[in-house]
Symmetry: C2
Subunit: 332 residues, 2 copies
């Protein structure tokens, strides 16, 4: 039995960070009122049961974390300062109030980690669970927001952190891979990449401040996201797959090094950042990313070509499929 | 067979108004970049098949219009200048590209009517159709945004336009009422109140400029929305139901005058505005609303009491149930 919706919303509101200096009127009126400082970056993402996650394989808190992470990762990719989030939830009648609170706790956890307040929301009935999150961030004085469109020939192509972990974690969660040789620490760490995504907000700000010319978050997979940057910039991106940093255990889950690299290129949902940056700015970016704790790796170069080219260790060009984020599966 | 999602998104993008002086980077990057002028009002609403609408009773264009109207009506209730909208759509695989375009045309129609541009979106697979719309509006210089919280004892309670039409239209659409005596014009007009909602943006701006002390849009029903204002303001609202302006045909659909007034009080989705305003400001507000073309009616007064009181023609207090907007049905 569901409590009255207004009581439930009041209960959910207590779980999430809800106030900041920028929020004049928070959740509960017809609209939230905020006082933006400078340009705003705004993004909307929907996460749907059976498409982007399954129950009960995904704990509800992890569903909340993933929904919030998708939007925060977009803000990271702009180099934005996180501001506010607005969350709509469609919940089946069978979900108990306690289950909704668990979901809200996941949302709150990642919102706090990312430094956004939840300034508004909507709760509705729905046949399956879905979440829709709008995240708003802000341009910092003197540091323009970074789009996908500014890659220049000769720029380095860099990625933050390690790739392939989220896809390997998903394979372990769904039983698609067992990887019995994997030790418990590596297994937990891969599953955490799927269930506890950590958007690279500090990394995005650091790359923007260091002068990144284009940036995107790796949500569809390295190959697909490199294609987005190439298309928006009207340039080519030459990537040496061998240089891509793999999360520990990815090779074991994928069944070999080249299979692991393919998982990194096609898997998606890693929520690392892909950026292009002039060689003269690379040193400053690398130091800032080391400070942020997840490192920066040079994996290629921007060319006058057209589209992305991914090469294997022998220099052969690979055809990669993107992770279809809208369908929760690799696209053909 | 669905076209590639990127082609489809490009096709959908062509259908919606997408650029304005405020939008530096529109749909297609990790986030839209806007240049807010002053305080922003932001609201999020989800609309779900089987909860807020049914197919095929609702044309897809009407579903698009309704989803956009809910957010625009919230902006109207703040007295905000409309700015940008962000639209996430979850669509079943069985929906064709042409059906999605019909949906987009409905979204575009109401967005243009309301004066917002679609600055971003997301398209995902889903077991049923749902739309999630975030609308952003702005405070105008010298005219503070109006919340639900400012009603003062002695203020007049006013409503724009006519009530009950959307609920009566829904009853006709679903076959819950037939009202055979109703002429075609009245029937079409009631159905249009349900399928072609027209948020009162000009009315909201006029009421804010005239000095409205509190405002809300009538989406849950007059009784429930009056309760929201009373609770937020810590005041009572005394409403004489007999004075509530009914849309033509509502009495016939409801089966009598008092049943029609009850439909107006409980029905919801009219997207008219309920405001409180000092008696000295009422004349200016009335003139502005007459100019906007949908009039303003005084229906009650703000008291030092607690909660809303709705009285019938004999002065008897009525107990009314709100329209549960989150479940698409009257709440108990």
């Amino acid at each position: 039995m569901r409590a009255s919706e207004f009581d439930l919303i009041a209960r959910l509101r207590e779980r999430v960070p809800a106030s900041s200096a920028r929020v004049r009127v928070g959740s509960g009126d017809d609209a939230a009122v905020t006082e933006p400082e400078g340009a705003a970056a705004t993004t909307i993402d929907a996460l749907v049961e059976g498409v982007h996650f399954t129950l009960p394989e995904f704990p509800l808190a992890a569903v909340g974390r993933k929904a919030m992470a998708a939007g925060l990762s977009d803000l990271a990719a702009m180099g934005a300062e996180p501001g506010e989030a607005y969350v709509a939830v469609g919940a089946p009648d069978a979900m108990s109030d306690d289950e909704l609170v668990e979901l809200a706790d996941g949302i709150a956890e990642t919102a706090e980690l990312g430094g956004v307040v939840i300034a508004g929301g909507d709760l509705t009935a729905a046949p399956v669970l879905f979440l829709c999150v709008t995240c708003v961030g802000y341009e910092r004085p003197g540091v323009p927001l970074v789009t996908r469109a500014g890659a220049n020939p000769g720029d380095m192509v860099v990625v933050t952190g390690e790739l392939g972990g989220a896809a390997a974690g998903l394979a372990l969660l769904t039983g698609a891979a067992s990887a019995e040789a994997l030790d418990d620490a590596a297994r937990s760490s891969l599953v955490a990449r799927q269930l506890e995504p950590a958007p690279r907000l500090a990394g995005g700000r650091a790359l923007a401040a260091a002068g990144a010319s284009a940036m995107i978050d790796i949500s569809d997979g390295l190959g697909a996201d490199a294609a987005h940057v190439a298309a928006a910039s009207g340039r080519g991106l030459e990537i040496e797959l061998e240089r891509v940093p793999l999360a520990a255990g990815v090779e074991e889950v994928a069944g070999g090094r080249s299979e692991g690299l393919r998982l990194a290129a096609e898997g998606g949902e890693d929520y690392e950042l892909l950026a292009t940056i002039g060689a003269e700015d690379l040193g400053a970016a690398r130091r800032a990313l080391d400070d942020a704790g997840y490192g920066l790796t040079e994996i290629g170069v921007v060319t006058n070509g057209d589209g992305p080219v991914l090469r294997d260790a022998d220099g052969r060009e690979l055809e990669v499929h993107g992770f279809d984020h809208r369908r929760g599966s690799p696209s053909g």
